[in-house]
Symmetry: C2
Subunit: 556 residues, 2 copies
């Protein structure tokens, strides 16, 4: 089979005008970025206020292997499959971060015949959204250090500046540093570090904002650190929300591109899926729902992380309904949950598969608890055997679970028509009536407990001394009503990445909290979350190249 | 009078298609970035190989005051004035850096009725060129630290990594730091620092490259530091030139916009004017020359820095002719050179003006030494008195120097027609026959000496012990044939910023050299050059804002 970039380069892209016309957009509702990319007007959502909403289909998955289970590929393929069965669909997904693209991943825009195009641009600078977020984040950092340097009238405690600088890069050397060295003309020395851009609260804010004003108000509420008296210091105290909003004026506009089969795709925003909510932007999802009858969207990692946050945070804040859920499973991930080591995943092993089904079972129960309908999608890999895929199908049918074998990587939309038909049926038949896992009026501790018990299957939570102190402090600050955004390993339902399958009898340990007051949630850390990746021994970048004629290699 | 941004917002922009049509571009020769910006194809220069070249007009100035003398405004106004007198002109200028825009400047796209539009975009993210340069620069940094972290097979000396990270920000706290702290999983601790993006060698390279291949070859030659045996380590040794070129594939394409009066403007690249050559890109200048009969371009700071480098480096490397030079002078800067303090510049003072003319006289002599024709442009400020402007005019006429009073800030192109007519006359009458100040085969030391003596008016140069050692080392490395790029204060002809007017009897002290082997020159430092600015007490960013309707304030 051809590589992703070969398929991408051989695909016939329509001019972006044609895609905009498919969506009935008038010329003042979008602006071109090159011939095959566009930005939608940030007032489009307001313009379309009276239009009825299409149905939102959320693609999630079981706990993944380190390589991922092709959730984006299934989402793109499902969008294309809707077209094949005569339904009007749009795809609304996250935009890739360049750091991982240059590091391990080499690309993050679907795969095979279910890709987002132009993949060379989407995987690199795209329309500059991540650069704008980096700039806004770092303009705030520069302003904080300048404030301290020039007399510190707000009395910011240099030891309590929580706001970090960011870069869209995998750069381990920037994780921990001392800045401001070199004497009085070079600022005030303090400990600092860089996160990757997608971990910036600015990214989370951009992805939840629904207008320039909403964006500005959220930015103003960011807590950048504390005074010596431990009072929170906000962006509003620094008077920077206007400049930051200005820096983000274009980044707030959703991006329009197309898939390998010319299905419209709105690709916008990409917050971290553990310390943030891990979904594409609210503007993109809501706009897509105005423009198409079916919107296919996804959330990061498995249903325990991504779907929970999509439902409890994003859909609650956005006040929109989720119509039905697709739970992506793969033979290899299920075998891993059944005890097979990563090196042996290519060998047929129905016994291990049987053992691993408990992981899928738990995610099914989670979606049922949310009160939503769902379809299981088996994302086919070339190494899957018939015995294995049939086992999963039979397992599902025996439990009355709708299941579809999908082959969208190799066959594009045609490989996903069964899934699309089952999704349509679910979406038409079932009520849209989500039951959130917690009430926002619950205490922070109880919110976390409910997610841990009902979504992860834990017995209970345990709080570190630091977390206990923070809980008290946060409730006192009036932050207790915010939803919780739990950062946890994606590999296990528990907080121990080595506990695969469906672990039981475990406790989730809450190490630390962080306020994301602009985004509007409390981040809850259950372990040592790395917010700046490092490069591997052989970074993907070493294979990247472009010829004088503009032919790109090394993205995949 | 209205503010710059008010004028910009009230201007009637043509769709960028119309500007492209004015330049006879076919639709495959450019791509839109929004409705009023475009990128030109990077193969356009090759496509137009058989077209004859327009005349290149270089705008330079006397030694400026800290506020600048409006060189960009005069360049934009002159371009518009060409239109007024029926000549086909294009403007080719540098793109602004966001750091200074957020810091002191608030904007850098001309001023008044001689602006580049859309100024809100050009002053901020524009088409993402600076972000791409930042990313390429920092991808290289991440790769260097990753290489050291993972075994350091190239034997890079962590104490001799000369390649710094960059950010397009005024952020003094990043000038000097220790990175890689936190133990073995966080890399190898070493001293580091950030420069502002425009000081990156990647920026200088992008501005001198004429094709993707040329870009790649230049990137491959970058020296990132030295081994423990003091052998240079290059990007080619790290195998990163392919990925870096890919990251710059769109940044290499020149940007097309328009002025307040709809004159085409190609705005591309913006290297530092002291540690780099300070001119817009080679691609932009050469492309503009293919598309218009007259190209107005500029070079940073006064003629001692910008024009010298434009001629000795850029035009020599590019093999193009410079037709005539405009030397911008202002009443206030000349008074400063005559001894008036900055606070008193608004008061009429013809005596001081008389004293300051020596500075203009020296720059005139410099341009004459280069064998080029010139016109002096008096860039009018509201505080200038008739007696003052008449004094300069009379002074010039008495010496047979062509001079034009220009008022392009307040009157647009109409304020520059006298200048345009005189420039046309010079360009038509005089031969294009530049005499470089030095021969590239001169020793590095002699190249520097010739610039110091002939352009700055110094008695001689003095070398620090470090510079002497480096000279020897560089010649041994085979770098002796490269042009020199001297970093010197812009305020004085000497290396002492307090020596205004036309100092005499001084020595230029060479503190240190730096190799820019990818850009293709040796940087020669004559003092402590700051390559990362800081924010002032009241940064311009504090006044920036955008309303829900998209109205921008605070850029000027």
């Amino acid at each position: 089979m051809k590589t992703d970039i070969e398929i991408a380069q051989q695909a016939t892209l329509k001019p972006i005008e044609a895609i905009a016309q498919q969506l009935d957009l008038t010329t003042d509702q979008w602006e071109p970025y090159g011939h095959t990319k566009a930005k939608l007007s940030d007032s489009l959502l307001k313009d379309l206020d009276d239009t009825s909403d299409g149905k939102i289909i959320l693609v999630t998955s079981i706990n993944p292997t380190p390589a991922g289970e092709g959730k984006s590929t299934v989402a793109v393929g499902l969008g294309q499959a809707f077209d094949k069965i005569g339904k009007n669909a749009a795809i609304a997904l996250r935009e890739p971060s360049m750091g991982p693209v240059m590091g391990l991943k080499g690309g993050a825009a679907g795969g095979g015949y279910s890709q987002l195009l132009p993949m060379e641009d989407i995987n690199l600078h795209f329309t500059g959204d991540l650069h704008a977020i980096t700039t806004a984040n770092n303009a705030l950092s520069a302003m904080i250090d300048n404030h301290i340097h020039r007399g510190n009238s707000l009395n910011i405690d240099p030891r309590r500046v929580e706001w970090k600088r960011v870069m869209d890069m995998n750069d381990r050397a920037l994780r921990q540093m001392v800045v401001g060295l070199g004497g009085p003309t070079r600022g005030v020395p303090r400990e600092d570090g860089f996160n990757i851009t997608v971990a910036s609260e600015v990214m989370a804010i951009l992805c939840l904002a629904t207008s320039l004003d909403d964006l500005k108000q959220r930015l103003a509420r960011i807590v950048i650190g504390y005074t010596r008296e431990e009072e929170p210091v906000t962006v509003n105290d620094l008077n920077m929300e206007g400049a930051l909003t200005l820096l983000l004026k274009d980044a707030l506009k959703p991006n329009l591109v197309q898939t390998t089969e010319n299905t419209p795709a709105i690709i916008h925003g990409g917050p971290f899926a553990n310390i943030a909510h891990g979904c594409n932007s609210m503007m993109a999802t809501k706009t897509a729902a105005k423009l198409a009858d079916y919107v296919v969207t996804e959330a990061g990692f498995g249903a325990d992380l991504g779907a929970e946050k999509f439902l409890d945070i994003k859909s609650r804040v956005g006040g929109f309904d989720t119509s039905t859920v697709v739970i992506v499973a793969t033979v290899r991930a299920l075998k891993m949950h059944g005890g097979v080591s990563q090196d042996d995943l290519k060998q047929e092993n129905v016994d291990a598969l049987n053992g691993g089904m408990a992981n899928l079972q738990k995610h099914i129960e989670t979606i049922e608890q949310f009160g939503l309908s769902y379809v299981v999608a088996i994302n086919k890999f070339p190494t899957d055997t018939d015995a294995e895929t049939e086992f999963i199908t039979t397992w599902c049918q025996a439990r009355g679970v709708d299941v579809a074998l999908t082959d969208v990587f190799a066959s594009g939309g045609a490989g996903g028509t069964e899934l699309a038909e089952k999704v349509v049926q679910k979406a038409e038949e079932t009520p849209e009536n989500v039951q959130y896992v917690y009430d926002t009026n619950d205490s922070i501790e109880n919110k976390v407990r409910k997610v841990a018990q009902n979504v992860y299957g834990a017995d209970d939570i345990a709080l570190s001394a630091k977390a206990q102190k923070q809980l008290h402090f946060y409730e006192k600050q009036g932050w207790g009503h915010l939803p919780v955004c739990i950062a946890k390993t994606q590999y296990s339902l528990s907080d121990d990445p080595s506990l695969l399958g469906r672990p039981e009898g475990f406790t989730i340990t809450i190490r630390e909290l962080r306020p994301s007051i602009g985004a509007g949630f409390i981040v809850v850390l259950t372990g040592d979350m790395l917010t700046m990746p490092g490069l591997p021994k052989e970074p993907a970048a070493l294979k990247m190249d472009i010829t004088e004629e503009g032919n790109v290699t090394g993205l995949f």
